[in-house]
């Protein structure tokens, strides 16, 4: 590990100013559960590490029926499932937040860090995409909003400019009878990286028989988490049932671009996309019809 300078920033502007001056010599740290590992393994060699955990904006966690959910970039996972209302309203996000690492990791790890680290296998990103989340980003020229589905550009890379930072993630307020679900497949029951992850979100009509909207996103089957618009769209107007679900699963499977690596083979991943899409849809629909 290379020696670095540690700067705890106290405002968004201070953090951005350091990024602006230092360019890729500086790196933000939130929970540090990705960054510290990368520093120790020499995979990143910043000269300056800027801690954002003392900045008020990135610690906010709020929910209301109009604005929906705001998750500050430095809010650790355990705070999400520690809130009864978030747990009840967004179980699909909780599925992901409570899978990342284990209890100890969740005390530190943030969804913001998970998103900015931009791993193709990151657990929260497919769930956030399925929930139509927006990344709120601050830079020298003010704030901009990037849909999470467009945020990642390749493994470890995002749309963020070198002097921009993620401030928060906005998740829309839920429509009636709408719920999400996230499932991943791992050979072990914990401490493992998704071989495939699938995030879904569905909305049902008032009779809870017909699907009125749906979104499906995949993890670990492409260079970035994949939003599969056609898969969700195929469900719209369909009565809930195995036929519609099978079809959506098949579309998702065709959209996957998996590779073979030490965590799984391309064939295995393609196969699992269909299995997990079906299971995740079953789970979200069960939640929405309850």
């Amino acid at each position: 590990m290379q020696a670095f300078e540690y700067i705890p920033a106290t405002t968004v502007n201070e953090a951005i100013a350091i990024l602006h001056q230092q360019g890729d010599q500086a790196r933000l740290i939130s929970g540090g559960t990705d960054l510290i590992v990368q520093l120790r393994e020499g995979r990143r060699k910043p000269k300056i590490v800027v801690d954002i955990k003392r900045i008020p904006e990135v610690n906010q966690l709020s929910y209301n029926l109009i604005d929906g959910l705001t998750i500050g970039a430095a809010v650790p996972c355990y705070k999400l499932y520690g809130s009864a209302v978030i747990k009840e309203t967004y179980p699909g996000l909780i599925d992901a937040a409570s899978l990342i690492g284990g209890v100890q990791i969740q005390g530190r790890a943030t969804l913001g860090g998970n998103l900015c680290n931009a791993s193709p296998a990151a657990d929260s990103i497919p769930a956030l995409i399925a929930h139509n989340a927006i990344a709120v980003v601050a830079g020298m020229n003010g704030e901009r909003h990037i849909p999470v589905q467009d945020f990642c550009t390749s493994p470890g890379r995002t749309q963020l400019e070198p002097d921009e930072m993620l401030v928060s993630i906005q998740v829309p307020a839920p429509r009636a009878h709408s719920y999400g679900a996230y499932l991943r497949f791992t050979p072990r029951n914990e401490m493992d990286i998704a071989v495939v992850g699938v995030g879904v979100w569905v909305a049902l009509d008032d009779t809870r028989v017909v699907i009125t909207a749906a979104r499906i996103a995949l993890g670990a089957v492409g260079p970035t988490p994949l939003f599969v618009n056609e898969a969700g769209a195929s469900l719209v107007g369909q009565p809930i049932g195995s036929q519609a679900i099978e079809k959506a699963a098949l579309i998702a499977q065709l959209a996957a671009k998996p590779i073979t690596d030490m965590r799984g083979s391309a064939e295995q991943r393609r196969h699992l996309v269909a299995v997990l899409t079906r299971r995740a849809l079953d789970s979200a629909i069960a939640r929405a019809s309850a």
Partner: protein
């Protein structure tokens, strides 16, 4: 008590059946427990001293390459760097093979494994090491060493290595073909065989024959504590080494050989050890740290491995290809078995194929057999011992075939093993006549266990299937080697027990209990301690399930000597003949005189010469171990994931000295065996790069992957040990992979012939079957 009675007591103690013990079989708190749970126990990486330097190793990025040149000038120029060492700093050694631990070692190969000579033979092979004022500078300096390579094509699996056109790892290697030296360069280091009876006749007497080929992956012991060594090469030429090792004396001997120094120049201080499982017998860092110290102005140098170093350059045990053909008659009698095993030794000869050749069929009485074993070098780390070396993969193959035969004949799998199981007086497949062993007892206890009598639970979802499997295992143990102990009676009546067997599995408390039982006092009045190599006689490694057996005999003998001396002292006190003194339950009696052990110790005090005893022994007994395991699994037919629902390990443990630690050994062995069965494997790319050198991607089971492992201790005392001890630590890892495979077959009809039976391999097998 005179010496003649002493001898009688010693031999009388060998009749061990139905003995009633006071200490043995109880569960006292282990002496090292409080320090371990409060974090005070000192491990090798905890050593701090004035002027300490830190060493780092440069490792090969290639699996197979010739080293053209090494330029260390940029590293030496870095501020804070003290010294660099390479293979050129090690003495050139003859090619001589010696026994080390349970296996054997060629000193020249050991030396070039420490720091590569002409060639690097695996990804992660050490090339050079640097000492510097802190680990970061050392790491940076290592990256500044310039090495020029000629890259060669690698062979990773035994199949690749055995091809006639395979790239050759060791130019001088010739096959030792049944004792005769081959004439052409090869990667096959040896071919051994044992054979008995008439195979053709045996197979023609069979009404069913099953023949299968099994492939198993390279796996690692997965000890939590990485290798470490701290060394000072003193200005007086004396070397002191603090390290994590399974045997201080064996480490000393290896260091002495590779540095070509007399053992008296080296003192090894074995620290607490965070797991070894066979992987901490061979040395990796010790002489390198010593040489760095020598070249760094005699300052102490500490080296610790990263997890990648541990996985890429230490440990693993052999990947293998095993063929089994077995026939059985209608009544279930196995009539013939033909087996061939090819084991990957890694970079240098010495896979555990020899012990695998015994393990594979030894639970059974088979008249017509042939077993062939091949030791094959590959561009993977040099194979090290791993708990019942070679056994898990061997038993996976044989137990799968026995299960299939039973199925075909419609015989219950436990009955099948009862029909063929080895008993006292039977000839083992590997030659010797079997002594009293408790195999049949494990099978009977398995059959009557609550687990086997219970119904399978129903599947947790429509896509899942459940099944039950049984598997057995044999392990030879190593009831020998040298053990030395010293015992000192303190003037407060407590007793110091000084040993050199490093304590990996709770052996200190077991030794204390055996001494307490012998002396008739409490285990808590014994202070067991593992000391450095200068402070006790020679001790072979803690390995081969030998320590509680062999060191236990030494402890018992030392206890008898102490009793003898205490009787002498009491005789002086009472002015009676020592022969009139009776010693029982820690009380000495002669006529109306009687005195307790503690009181006598206080009376003796320190003024009249202490009561002390030293013993060094090299027993040559026997004490094979056998086990039968039952496992229930659930298989998700859509994902291929196997969940272990219930597991029971039944084992002949001889006498359980401290039952909690015996149960712990069984549970630990099963946990590791399930790792072999389900997910552990080295993943290499085509160039031979290790892709999963971290505990995130090398998937050892976590607590959530295992149920509570139930244990049944069957006690059939070993007649060659005063308390009936047999080694218990290794055999529990032998049956699991076979038992799990049989459970999967029972659930799904799918006969897995590959380890691990990971979700990916399961899906591939299902797809192949569907075709």
């Amino acid at each position: 008590m005179d010496s003649e009675t002493l001898e009688q007591v010693a031999s009388a103690d060998i009749s061990v059946e139905n003995r009633h013990y006071k200490v043995i079989g109880s569960r006292p708190i282990r002496h090292d427990g409080p320090d371990k749970v409060t974090g005070r126990a000192l491990f090798g990486a905890d050593i701090r001293m004035n002027g300490l330097l830190y060493g780092k190793v440069l490792r090969s990025p290639h699996a197979h390459a010739r080293i053209i040149s090494i330029d260390v000038s940029r590293a030496l120029a870095l501020t804070g760097v003290k010294a660099v060492v390479t293979n050129a700093d090690l003495p050139t050694l003859e090619s001589v093979v010696s026994r080390v631990g349970e296996g054997s070692i060629n000193w020249r190969y050991l030396s070039s494994n420490l720091l590569a000579g002409e060639k690097v033979l695996y990804h992660g092979h050490a090339i050079a090491a640097v000492s510097a004022v802190n680990p970061h500078v050392a790491e940076q300096a290592a990256s500044l060493i310039d090495v020029e390579y000629e890259i060669l094509s690698p062979v990773i699996t035994v199949d690749q290595a055995m091809r006639p056109d395979a790239s050759i790892l060791l130019d001088e290697l010739r096959t030792n073909e049944l004792g005769a030296r081959g004439s052409t360069p090869t990667n096959i280091a040896s071919h051994d065989q044992f054979q008995r009876g008439d195979l053709d006749q045996g197979f023609s007497a069979a009404s069913v024959i099953v023949e299968r080929e099994f492939t198993t992956s390279t796996v690692h012991q997965g000890y939590i504590e990485p290798h470490n060594a701290t060394a000072i090469w003193g200005t007086d030429g004396q070397i002191t080494v603090w390290t994590s090792t399974q045997g201080g004396h064996d480490a000393r001997r290896q260091i002495a050989e590779v540095l070509q120094l007399p053992v008296s120049r080296i003192k090894v201080i074995p620290m607490e050890i965070g797991g070894g499982f066979g992987g901490k017998i061979g040395i990796y860092l010790e002489p390198v740290a010593a040489l760095l110290s020598l070249k760094s102005g005699n300052r102490p140098v500490q080296m610790t491995m990263s997890r990648f170093d541990v996985l890429a350059a230490t440990g693993p045990t052999s990947g293998s290809v095993i063929r089994v053909k077995m026939g059985a008659a209608q009544d279930g009698q196995i009539t013939a078995a033909q087996v061939s095993l090819a084991y990957a030794a890694g970079a240098y000869p010495g896979s555990p194929v020899g012990s695998a050749m015994s393990v594979i069929l030894n639970p059974y009485r088979i008249a017509n057999v042939q077993v062939d074993g091949y030791d094959v070098v590959t561009n993977t780390p040099r194979a090290a011992a791993y708990r019942a070396p070679g056994g898990t993969n061997a038993a996976f193959a044989a137990e799968s075939v026995v299960d299939e035969l039973a199925n075909k004949l419609g015989i219950d799998p436990i009955d099948m093993r009862l029909i063929n199981g080895i008993k006292e007086g039977d000839r083992r497949v590997d030659g010797p006549i079997s002594r009293r062993v408790g195999y049949i007892e494990t099978l009977e206890r398995a059959r009557s266990s609550p687990h086997y009598l219970s119904a399978l639970s129903s599947p947790s979802s429509a896509t899942c299937k459940v099944g039950r499997g049984v598997g057995s295992g044999w392990w030879g143990n190593w009831p020998g080697g040298t053990s030395s102990v010293s015992v000192v009676v303190n003037n407060d009546g407590t007793v110091n027990l000084i040993e050199g067997s490093t304590d990996i599995g709770g052996s200190r408390v077991a030794m204390a209990m055996m001494l307490a039982e012998t002396l008739g006092i409490q285990a808590s009045d014994i202070k067991p301690m593992v000391v450095d190599t200068d402070s006790v006689g020679y001790n072979d490694v803690t390995a081969g399930s030998r320590t509680t057996y062999s060191t236990g005999i030494a402890v018992h003998k030392a206890g008898l000597k102490i009793i003898h001396e205490m009787c002498e002292r009491a005789a002086q006190l009472w002015n009676v003949d020592p022969g009139t003194i009776d010693y029982a339950d820690g009380v000495l009696t002669s006529g109306t005189n009687h005195i307790g052990f503690k009181e006598l110790a206080r009376k003796i005090g320190d003024g009249d010469g202490n009561v002390v005893a030293s013993v060094s022994i090299s027993p040559n007994g026997e004490g094979v171990a056998l086990a039968t395991h039952i496992v229930d699994v659930e298989v998700d037919m859509e994902t291929g994931k196997v969940q272990i629902l219930r597991y029971t390990a039944i084992q002949d443990v001889g006498t359980a000295i401290h039952p909690a630690y015996v149960e712990g050994q069984l549970q630990g062995g099963v946990a590791q065996g399930i790792g072999w069965a389900l997910n552990e494997e080295y993943v290499y790319d085509a160039q031979g790069h290790l892709l999963n050198g971290s505990l995130l991607d090398y998937r050892i089971p976590t607590a959530l992957d295992l149920p509570m492992i139930e244990t049944v201790l069957v006690e059939v005392p070993n007649t060659t040990h005063p308390f009936g001890v047999r080694g218990v630590g290794e055999v529990p890892i032998v049956p699991p992979a076979g038992a799990v495979a049989n459970a999967i077959a029972n659930a799904t009809g799918l006969r897995m012939t590959i380890l691990p039976m990971s979700p990916r391999h399961m899906l591939e097998a299902m797809w192949a079957q569907a075709k």
